[in-house]
Each structure stands twice: as structure tokens, then as C-alpha cells.
Symmetry: C2
Subunit: 142 residues, 2 copies
């Protein structure tokens, strides 16, 4: 399979396939014309990489996992351990986004009843300057 074929097969982009290839996560054969051809092992490896990405693993994680597996060892323990870290990261980001979203919605609501004002030397926009986060609890969890 060639780059674009492969990309389409798995619903990704040629650039992504090239990217992984650049990082040597994929190792295609090169035909005489200079084109890259991906044999079955590389095809299933791409599938693996994409699945792992969908599970929140970073490309660097994936590299470590592949390295482990290529030593003949089971990568499963590493995978189990890594996903817990990534889940914790995701949870943090998720909470941050939750708070951000709330702030944004609160701002929209507050601003609805405020008029526009012209700026001064110390005030670019009073909407933003006067916004208050509507704190519900003092964040003491971090």
C-alpha cells in the first residue's frame, strides 16, 4: 500500500502517515521509483498507532510501547501504567475546560445587560475588566 491509500483506509491523512514514518514508527519498503510501500506488518502497526492515539496515548508513549514490544516483552504492563497517567492528565484538562466553559458562559450572561464603553488609558474593555468568575468554592484541590 502507498501512503495515500493507507491514509484513506484508516480515515487519517497522508501527512499523518508521513509523520509517523518520519519518526520511524512506520518502516515502509521503498520501491525502485522511490515510492514508499507499506506491507502488512506496517499496516497493522499504523492501525495500532491510531488506536493508541484515540486512547489518549502520546506519540512518545507509543514509541516507548513499541520499543518494549520489539524486545519481545509484553508491552501490556507499560500500557496499563501509562493509561492511568494519561487519564489523570485528561481529567485535569477536563476540569480546566469545565471551569473555562463556565467562565465563558457566565461572562456572556453578565455582559448581556451591560452596554458598550469606549476605552480609556487604563481600560481596554470594561466587559473583560469587570468580569467576575462567580466562584462557587475556593479551589483548594491543587
Amino acid at each position: 500500500m502507498k501512503v495515500t491509500e493507507l491514509a484513506k483506509e484508516f480515515g487519517t491523512t497522508p501527512d499523518t502517515v508521513r509523520y509517523y514514518t518520519r519518526l520511524k514508527l512506520l518502516n515502509p519498503a521503498k520501491s525502485e521509483n522511490g515510492y514508499k510501500y507499506y506491507p502488512l506488518t506496517e499496516i497493522s502497526r499504523l492501525k495500532f498507532i491510531l488506536s493508541a492515539r484515540h486512547l489518549g496515548f502520546s506519540v512518545s508513549d507509543i514509541r516507548h510501547i513499541i520499543d518494549e514490544a520489539s524486545l519481545g516483552k509484553s508491552a501490556c504492563p507499560l500500557v496499563r501504567s501509562l493509561i492511568k497517567e494519561r487519564l489523570a492528565d485528561t481529567e485535569k484538562q477536563f476540569q480546566a475546560m469545565l471551569a473555562l466553559r463556565k467562565n465563558m458562559n457566565d461572562a456572556l450572561a453578565q455582559w448581556d445587560v451591560k452596554e458598550d464603553k469606549t476605552p480609556t488609558s487604563t481600560m481596554v474593555c470594561h466587559l473583560i475588566d469587570s468580569f467576575e468568575p462567580t466562584k462557587e468554592y475556593g479551589g483548594s484541590h491543587d
Copy 2:
């Protein structure tokens, strides 16, 4: 005020202050010794920038807002318009994180009852390979 003082005052880092200064969002005076000194107008401008960042505006957005205000015009209409875009972006990312988090939790649960396996030429880790997203509805909203 000097860089580090300013950063501490608003709970950010000197690097962040320097970054905004590099982008000319802040325009400190330079004293003879070469140090940067931030007068009151710049101090309140930093406060503005940080508030805007907390509301999900990008640095680029902020630049546009400041540009608008520096023409003497009210930046409020722009601000109202931009935050709606950013809120939509945030909502999208939020939903994506929600789905990711679910996938990760599902994976953890599924894997709990699976044993480790050694890799083969076409399988790096069966945990990842065999993971199924537990789709609840066919995502047809984008």
C-alpha cells in the same frame, strides 16, 4: 515595576510577561541600566490580558481587541463577537475530551479482566488492538 515583581503581583511567570512584551502587547519603559519598568498603564494592561486569557481569548484575539481600543473605538462589540466563537471552540474541545475520557475509562474497565500477552509481528499490544469504543450513538453531528 520590574518584570518579576509584576509577574508575582498577578500570579503569573516572568516568562509570560516577557512573552507579551516581545509581542509588543506590553510596552515598558527602559531605564538606563537596561531594565524594563512597567508603569501603571502597562500594569493594568497586563491585568487585562490575563483576564482575557482566563476567558478563553487567544493572544491573537487580544491583540485585535487592543488594536481596536487603541483607535479610540469601543472594543466591546468585537469582544462580544469573539467570545461566542471561542465558546463554540471550547464546547467542541470539551465534547472531544468527554469522549476521550469515556474511551479511556472504558478501556481501563475492559482491560481489568484481560491478561498480558507477548507481542507478535502484527500485534504490539492486544489490549489496545482489541479495544472497542463502546459506541452509544453514531456520531453524525460533525
